[in-house]
Amino acid sequence: MAPHDRGGPAEVRMERPAELHSRTHYRRLWKTMVISTSVVALLPLIILTIISYLQYKKTFRMESINPVHNLTATTKHSLEFFLSERLSALTMVINSTPFERLADGDGLAGTLANLAQAFGGFIDLGLIDAQGKQLSYAGPYNLGGRDYSDQEWFHEVGYRDVHISEVFMGYRKYPHFVIAVKQQLEGSDFYVLRATIASERLNQSIMFTNLDPSSDAFLINKHGVIQSPSRFYGAVFEQCPLSLPPLGTDAQVVEENDEAGRPIILGYAPVERSPFILVLVKRSGALMGNWATLRTELFGFVAFSALLILLVIVYGSTYLARQVRDADAKRADIFHKMEYTNKLAAIGRLGAGVAHEINNPLAIISQKAGLMKDIVTMTEEFPKREKFLDLINSILKSVDRCSNITHRLLGFAKHMDVQTEPIHLELLLKEVFGFLEKEAMHRNLNVSFDIADDLPTILSDRGQLQQVFLNILNNAFAAVPDGGDIGIAIYPNGELYEAVDIKDNGSGISEENLKHIFEPFFTTKKGGGTGLGLSITYGIVEKLGGRIYVESEVGVGTKFTVMLPIKREP
């Protein structure tokens, strides 16, 4: 490493360089993108929808349901008031008028006149005894002496004291209804005062309610027969086409569709002490629209938007994930090629080291054998000359063969297969150092080994590890001046790892450069290294399941630590 300018101690951990990930990795990446963007995009939409849904609902209630409810309740009360007023009048008459006066036709006629004047709507009056016989009658019809003993209303008034009938036509040929009250005498004897009231008076108190043209209010009985004129749903005595939900005692409002499928708001309430049920219908205005339609539209819009957003997200994520995968594949490919190139270079260097070591002794053997041949040739009368010449030529031929091998080794370049075998790190480090021993000697470098006792062998790739340590040692050699120190320490790190420290007292690396030290093509070597050595080293260590760290201080030195797993993961 070339001298560096500044910086302090630092430690660098690198992300693993480009490597092709599995399909599941990109699947997961895609999923993460889809889910996170969907959440970000859809959550506000959903929240907004819920808020507007609630707001709409509230507004809708305010605008349409509440008025209908209030109107239903008010009308129910005014109807009840109307009926109880007439019941009270009748009760007062029966309580305060002597029986004799009521039984007398003229007396009864006077009472009817008073009632009709005070309350209106009274058509006729009849007095009936406990046997159901009409004792007297006042009114426009000739009904005196009629027998009501077999009529249901008569039995009802017998045990309930009062009775309000449904609307009917009867003898009178126009819609009316009957109210009756009972006066108890001694024993089981009693008499009943029965009044007929024109329904018109009842209708008026319903229509008294200010109804807009899209609304309707009318009475029905418990069988759904219309009792008062309806705007939309038929005439009196016709069957009302609307079906009501179960009744309570108070006014209730529901949203419904009428028989023609038109959306309506339906208010309804039983009128107390009578067979009548008040029905109030408001056809939903065009302005407000139907709540159900509105709701459908709102959710339809949200569903459509969500679908559109999801489509865009899925398409975008698929596109992005594919781009990332392609880029990774490209990077991995480039990195693979670089690794290959560097491997060739490293093996070439290794071959060169070996060749040099062997060529020197070969040169000596060659010269010694040559000298022997010279002596045999030049000495006259040499005993067994031919035999000796044969032997010497054989040695020289072998030397030639050896030199052929070493010369070939210098151009040696072969792709190494990854193989796992038991490796003793101390022996491996010493072996690698052997290649550089001569340089260490020439430059008077002080190389020290600090090996922990009883180091177990590790399972790893010999060739790759040689390359790793040769690279690091080469860097250390380049960093130290002649006479510098290089320390190699091997020690166990936990139960799973063995660590190798390679420390030099060289120029050190600045913090800035330390960040880039494992990046491909990063070099500080003057004259230009390839910038691949440490990048490849890093890649190999990672591939072997290990970790590489570097600490450095400018002017103090650099320490590389390689952690290797004792057992290789499959």
Partner: protein, 121 residues
Amino acid sequence: MKPMRILVVDDEIEFVTTLVERLELRSIEAEGVTRGSEALQRIAEKPFDIVLLDVKMPGIGGMEVIRKIKQEHPEMHVILLTGHGSAEAVEEARLAGAFEFLMKPVNIDELLRIFRLASSD
């Protein structure tokens, strides 16, 4: 062939002595040393026709020795000998003025042929 004075420089003493002996058997005046510094000293004492020089030696290396020789004695032929040679090393040797760059182990007949080439140069 005119008489030649040859200096063999190599850190392997066995190589030096044997080669010197073989050259002398062929009536070539040869001397051997094992250090670059020693070689420069011998050359300073008396000139040689040809110097056979190992590239990699402890102390002053072959490349430095050849540069010093060529400074003082540009006419002196220097043949470099090495255990391994790269293209860069060959180029460096040429630039330094080496007559030839040979790979170890070298055959004596090849060596003599180059000596003759050098002396007739």
